[in-house]
């Protein structure tokens, strides 16, 4: 699918990648209570057989769960970073006071 990363997201992922050199890092987009469809950056998470790879940046694979992938695959999307940690997320970046987000891409479609 058409998945982009903002420069800010790439920088953030590269920093967290550098801090965790021996760990596997993945982002899984899931949904549900309190967060809606949100990317969660995790260490040493076991990706499941139904999870679909959406893209990759800075050595971090971005997957969507089997239920979420069909919903978002048709929406050109971008992984971005917002200020503020949200509430209650286990995503690794929240301790920096920022939150990864997945939002529709508003520019021109991928070439």
């Amino acid at each position: 699918m058409d998945l982009r990363f903002t420069d800010r997201a790439r920088t953030l992922l590269a920093e967290i990648r550098a801090e965790n050199p021996s760990d596997t890092l993945v982002i899984l987009v899931g949904g549900g209570c309190c967060e809606n469809t949100a990317p969660i950056l995790m260490k040493n998470f076991r990706v499941g057989r139904g999870d679909r790879l959406m893209g990759e940046a800075e050595g971090v694979g971005v997957y969507a769960s089997t239920d979420v992938y069909p919903l978002i695959e048709g929406t050109p999307s971008v992984i971005d970073v917002t200020d503020g940690a949200g509430a209650g997320s286990f995503s690794l970046e929240v301790r920096r006071g920022v939150r990864l987000t997945l939002r529709p891409f508003r520019g021109s479609p991928a070439p």
Partner: protein, 491 residues
């Protein structure tokens, strides 16, 4: 308003405030103003270690208390909350942004009632007996598990803490709780108010971010059961931690609940039910009736009335008694809700009202979103399938019963469902056909202690609020007792 939060909290570990080993803190905001309400520790694994150690130490005596003793203590917890009920309600509204009429009339009274309910039913925590043969009896004992780890969401902080804390204590367990970092105030207040009620270490509260506090708690080898309410991916992560230590877990992971209007519905009541379904707590409710199926025969009339009512909702300062909708819990959540409004428009749904930040300058610093109704929604659209967790309802027009039921069930989740009809056989048939842990007939979002709450499908497993819950906070010991006077003769 009579109560304010202190400028700063610490962790509550082993019966008293305790400074965080991390020496870091995080700001807790008032979502109605964007201002700092208080600060709490941004803890780390060392704080979790201390809390689990304290809980483990406390378990050696708490686990041996009698049911009579625990019943008295649970009733006293209820009384303590009751005594400060108005304070708790105001702090909850300040911290979460929910209208005071909701915290004062729903969150706090229901929390109190859960302690009373589990105080009552714990006296029924009994085993079974059977005669195996004339010289052999078998009986079962219900024993506590030990230290239980709870990871809480931000939408009903004190109430969902009660859902987990009351049965844990009733079963004889000790507890380490991690509130959502943005909504820790009422649970910290409660822990402090119970200093002379609970022995030190029985209830511990550690604040901080999910990866720093939640993950070390969920993976801690000293924890014997986990309970989590939150998002599905995080639920999977916590289950992976649970698998490391072979511990059971209760999972409540959200929903996108169908709410069905039949042509013979009592329209006045159904419209109120729809609004209770999706605008209570700004729609930040796991069971929000956010997929509304309205029958073609009454669609136009029903929608006209619904839109008019929703446009008249009072949105504003949650501390005012007549406010019906407060702010979204955080700026990030508000932005996500607004992004779904854009997604819905792009998908071709018709935005019939709301979905913007209110124009009132008095609300400009808070995280407010005007309640939104999307018409012309198809069940496959993202706004019909993804949990938005905000004041947004997606309305689907239906005419064929079987198609409607298939669509209502065509979703990853199965937490709640509601339906409105005056025809009893149709109501029962439909309730049975819906794949959901709770079905409401001619009502919505009703909750009571004693009614099992939990999900089908990817909404999770395990049940809260009921006698079954208490059983899930115990383990069974099977005891064989021989009264034989001679050897069996096998060896």
């Amino acid at each position: 308003m009579s109560v304010t939060a202190p400028r700063e909290y610490q962790h509550f570990i082993n019966g008293s405030w305790r400074k965080s080993e991390s020496n870091k803190a995080l700001d807790v905001l008032n979502p109605a103003t964007g201002e700092i309400l208080t600060r709490v520790p941004a803890g780390d694994s060392r704080d979790v270690d201390a809390a689990v150690a304290a809980a483990g130490q406390a378990f050696s005596s708490w686990g041996k208390t009698t049911p009579v003793e625990r019943q008295g203590i649970l009733l006293e917890i209820a009384n303590r909350i009751q005594k400060r009920a108005r304070d708790y309600a105001e702090l909850e509204s300040l911290n979460v942004g929910k209208p005071i009429r909701e915290s004062a009339n729903i969150d706090i009274p229901l929390a109190i009632d859960h302690y009373r309910y589990f105080a009552g039913v714990l006296r029924n925590l009994q085993g079974t007996t059977q005669t195996v043969d004339p010289t052999m009896l078998h009986l079962t004992l219900r024993e506590p598990l030990g230290v239980v780890g709870h990871i809480l969401p931000w939408n009903f902080p004190l109430l969902l803490a009660a859902w987990k804390l009351a049965p844990s204590l009733a079963g004889g367990n000790t507890v380490v709780m991690k509130p959502a970092e943005q909504t820790p105030v009422t649970l910290l207040e409660l822990a402090n108010d119970l200093r002379d009620v609970l022995p030190p270490g029985v209830l511990n509260v550690v604040t901080g971010y999910g990866p720093d506090v939640g993950a070390p708690l969920a993976s801690h080898p000293g924890v014997r059961k986990l309970s989590f309410t939150g998002e599905t991916t995080t639920g999977r992560l916590i289950l992976q931690y649970a698998s490391e230590n072979i511990v059971p877990a209760t999972m409540e992971l959200g929903g996108k609940s169908p709410h069905i209007i039949f042509p013979d519905a009592d329209v006045e009541r159904a419209i109120e039910g729809v609004m209770i379904g999706v605008f209570l707590n700004q729609g930040e409710v796991c069971t929000a009736g956010s997929r509304l199926f309205v029958h073609d025969a009454i669609y136009d009339r029903f929608m006209e009335k619904l839109v008019a009512k929703v446009k008249g909702l009072k949105i504003g300062d949650p501390m005012k008694e007549d406010t019906q909708l407060g702010p979204i819990v955080s700026r990030e959540q508000m932005e996500k809700v607004l992004s779904y409004i854009e997604i819905g428009k792009k998908e071709g749904a018709a935005l019939l009202c709301g979905g913007t930040r209110p124009a009132d300058p008095a609300l400009s610093k808070g995280f407010f979103v005007a309640p939104a109704i999307f018409g012309n929604v198809k069940n496959k659209m993202r706004i019909a399938q993804e949990e938005i967790f905000g004041p947004v309802v997606s309305v689907i027009r239906w005419s064929d019963y079987d198609t409607m039921i298939a669509e209502a069930n065509d979703i990853a989740y199965g937490l709640g469902a509601g339906l409105w009809t005056e025809t009893l056989p149709l109501a029962v048939k439909t309730a049975k056909a819906l794949q959901a842990g709770t079905v409401w007939i001619n009502t919505y979002n009703a909750l009571t202690a004693g009614a099992p709450f939990g999900g089908y499908k990817k909404s999770g497993f395990g049940r809260e609020c009921a006698f079954d819950t208490l059983l899930q906070y115990t383990q069974i010991k099977s005891l064989f007792v021989s009264t034989a006077e001679k050897p069996i003769g096998l060896y």
